[in-house]
Symmetry: C2
Subunit: 484 residues, 2 copies
């Protein structure tokens, strides 16, 4: 920390500080200044509302350049300790306003955060977040630069198309039609602010007082949460055992909407067989039901070529297709899309007449450009290769370190594997042992609606966020924790 | 158009084109090439799926630089006529996929688009969009640049805080507390993807089977649409006549939620009197009702200082405050925020446990930085001054050109005036006369729930989008159209 001494400056700002800098410290000067003021804020010597010394004054006093002070102050501003107000300099913010929000309890497509007080996580086999550096920040930057420098930036002054930017919808339609055997027009595509927002809006086309929703059991709890929040009754359809289980449950519930994940069932990663697909579409047609096909993970298929989506087999406009950019580009972009069959598209136009878009123009325009000039395809290919390597590494590490002690459910898709420890220990016990060893793997209870189910001790081991080189050592540590 | 001749090139792409460029044309070369290919696509000489000549080949043939060809092709890609596919060059897209979507019928906070086939609009007195150039594109660009170059860009690889970025929520809280007399913490602020999305999510905390919503009559139809879409019964409360009308309606409807616009009632722009505010809060407390205060237009007040928001007078946690960036920064940013009272905040945490954010991290981080370093304040001051000038110009132009023939409802707030023509002609007739003269002003029928109301012939004349210098000539043209 060097010899930086907590600043003793008080309001007014022209009072001299007691800040001292250590020339021999390995910390850069701006960092020493920052540390000193931070300590002062914590200790109360800079109370809320008090002014920091002026940049010029402090630079003179410490005999350093104003840029150094400016860098320290900017960091304080960025971190939310200090606000800069034109004309009145830098003021310390009220830290009582800054108490951290409880960490968001993550749902479904993300694994939950580690419990507070747990050992530091050395190896995080979470599912959902992407490996640092996945987002093509520098390519994105030059596209955003171009857009904001061009006359197109004028679009920022207007309300834009509520269904999404045509250029982006065309790029999406083109790819769905050319690489997924689908047959849709850009008009059918509606750009949305994520899976939950999509489902929530879609539910406006249904009637919570009359319509039941079915979903897979086990299934994505994030979708279930949206159905419940919108007050729709939800009935589970078993995707384990035989296919008849599923159709029995479906027949019994008679849903108006069925949510499925055919290309990689969440969380089992199984692929819906072609026979079941045909039967499902016929069932939907015969029973006046819509199928919401969440194709969230189609880009990652590690053995065979993916089967065409349900949407491409649907002749009677029963399938709503949903795709996302969260797994392949950025979860923080908050962008996905729906492809509506014509009848529902009409209903959407009625219900959302005069509505506004929910995704910023700039995100959409940048993504359209990223796709149009071919960068998307290169980016996706790289990520597919990387995920294939990680998938293989994880599977092999589990085989090597745990062998017959575990069953590994893998289906050549997805961004995680399910691992079943066969010695009868409970999921809680196994998760706790792992956490104690600094390895985060995740439970699967939340994906079930029923209490009794055959996968009690299955754990989710994700590889979307962990670095390739951490997979083998992480699994070794996990084996050590579980089997000594 | 120059002498550019429709390109006769067909697949395969190495065939020579018949494209000819006109050196003496005032059109730049890339534009001539673009025009030629566009014409070719329209005429069918570039059928869907056909490849454009390679950039190098066409540059050689036309003896121009590859950059010129690249510029023409990029424009075609951007406009959605052509897709670039790595390895296979530029291909013409299927135009049947590109049939334009019906123009979004705009709602409430935006004026509707001109009817098809109308005269070109020379003067658009619309409400909602901002004047071109309002968005600080270049400042925004340098902030986004910084963010994407820094290690912070790693956030793009993760799911972020569902309530919004803390840095932004702190900036918002600081400003609300210091400039609006409010007393809220950053924890109470939830960043959302626009007014409609905010209301839709908020309604998840209420019960459509049991709870009635009240809103002002006349009032913002966009909010009414969301209430209806979520199946809530909506009851109007008259804001014309005496204050007793309003409370009579309220008493009768006994709503659980009341939507109001106290700082600038939409669309009348009246300011809710202090007496009514106190009474409303007391009523809400006594009747277990929440008040949703939409403070969409608070930044623009042209005479007195604005009254403090209802939220600042609320001692019992009955007021939900809603603010937006659409009127002051960018409607295309799709960003606004809610400030929840503690009880509802708890309910929100329950209902949205594990939910995801709906606003991209990059938008939030850029906005936080824009606010933190003082650019926001300067930007807002400039816009306030500009809107004051436009407000004054519009009011004076109406007085000068129409004098006693009209009543102008103005209350020193808002981004539009209401104009009432007193000679008994219908709104339809007056709007049609204006459109025929190339002047767009807008009807107000959509803001009413009841058919019989006292403002039948009032029209909305907005000044948010029109340029300052177009206001006087536009009003002169309108006066000419209406009164000859």
């Amino acid at each position: 920390m060097g010899a930086a001494v907590p600043g003793g400056a008080r309001d007014p700002s022209d009072e001299r500080t007691s800040m001292q800098l250590d020339e021999s410290s390995p910390l850069p000067l701006y960092r020493q200044i920052y540390d000193s003021i931070r300590t002062g804020i914590d200790a109360g010597s800079y109370p809320p509302g008090s002014r920091l010394p002026s940049i010029r004054g402090l630079a003179d006093e410490l005999q350093c350049s104003r840029n150094t002070i400016d860098a320290a102050y900017s960091l304080l501003v960025e971190e939310g300790f200090v606000a800069s107000r034109p004309g009145s300099g830098y003021r310390v913010l009220d830290l009582h306003q800054l108490s951290p929000v409880p960490a968001p309890a993550a749902a479904g497509h993300t694994s939950p955060a580690a419990p507070a007080g747990a050992n530091p996580v050395r190896y995080d086999f979470s599912y959902g977040n992407l490996e640092p550096g996945t987002f093509p920040a520098s390519a994105w930057r030059s596209i955003v630069d171009d857009l904001l420098l061009s006359v197109e930036s004028r679009t920022c002054d207007t309300y834009t198309n509520p269904l999404g930017e045509m250029a982006l919808r065309q790029q999406i339609a083109w790819r769905l039609n050319s690489s997924r055997n689908m047959d849709c027009t850009a008009d059918q595509i509606i750009v949305q602010a994520g899976t939950a927002a999509s489902i929530q809006n879609l539910l406006a086309l249904f009637d919570s007082g009359r319509d039941t929703v079915c979903m897979e059991e086990p299934g994505y709890d994030g979708a279930r949460q949206v159905f419940s929040r919108s007050a729709f009754p939800v009935a589970p359809c078993r995707v384990y055992g035989t296919m008849e289980n599923f159709f029995e449950d479906l027949e019994k519930a008679q849903p108006r909407l069925l949510y499925v994940t055919p290309s990689s069932q969440f969380p089992t990663c199984s692929v819906m067989p072609i026979k079941m697909r045909a039967r499902l579409i016929a069932w939907a047609e015969a029973n006046d039901t819509y199928i919401l096909e969440d194709d969230y993970c189609r880009d990652f298929r590690y053995r065979e070529r993916p089967l065409p989506p349900l949407q491409s087999m649907d002749q009677s406009g029963r399938v709503i297709y949903m795709g996302t950019f969260s797994k392949s580009l950025s979860p923080a972009l908050r962008m996905n899309y729906l492809v509506l069959p014509p009848r529902l598209l009409e209903r959407w136009h009625e219900k959302f007449r005069g509505a506004y878009p929910t995704v910023p123009w700039l995100s959409q325009a940048a993504c359209a450009r990223f796709m149009a000039d071919g960068q998307w395809d290169r980016h996706l290919r790289r990520l597919q290769m990387k995920n294939l390597r990680k998938y293989t590494a994880l599977f092999e590490a589990l085989q090597k370190a745990m062998g017959q002690k575990v069953d590994v459910l893998e289906n050549g898709t997805g961004l995680h594997l399910l691992v079943d420890v066969k010695d009868g220990r409970s999921q809680e016990e196994l998760l706790a042992l792992a956490r104690a060893a600094g390895v985060a793997v995740y439970g699967t209870e939340r994906y079930w609606m029923s209490e009794n189910h055959p996968l009690k001790s299955c754990m989710l081991v994700g590889f979307s966020a962990i670095r390739e080189e951490d997979i083998a050592p992480g699994i070794d540590a996990l084996a050590q924790a579980w089997f000594g």
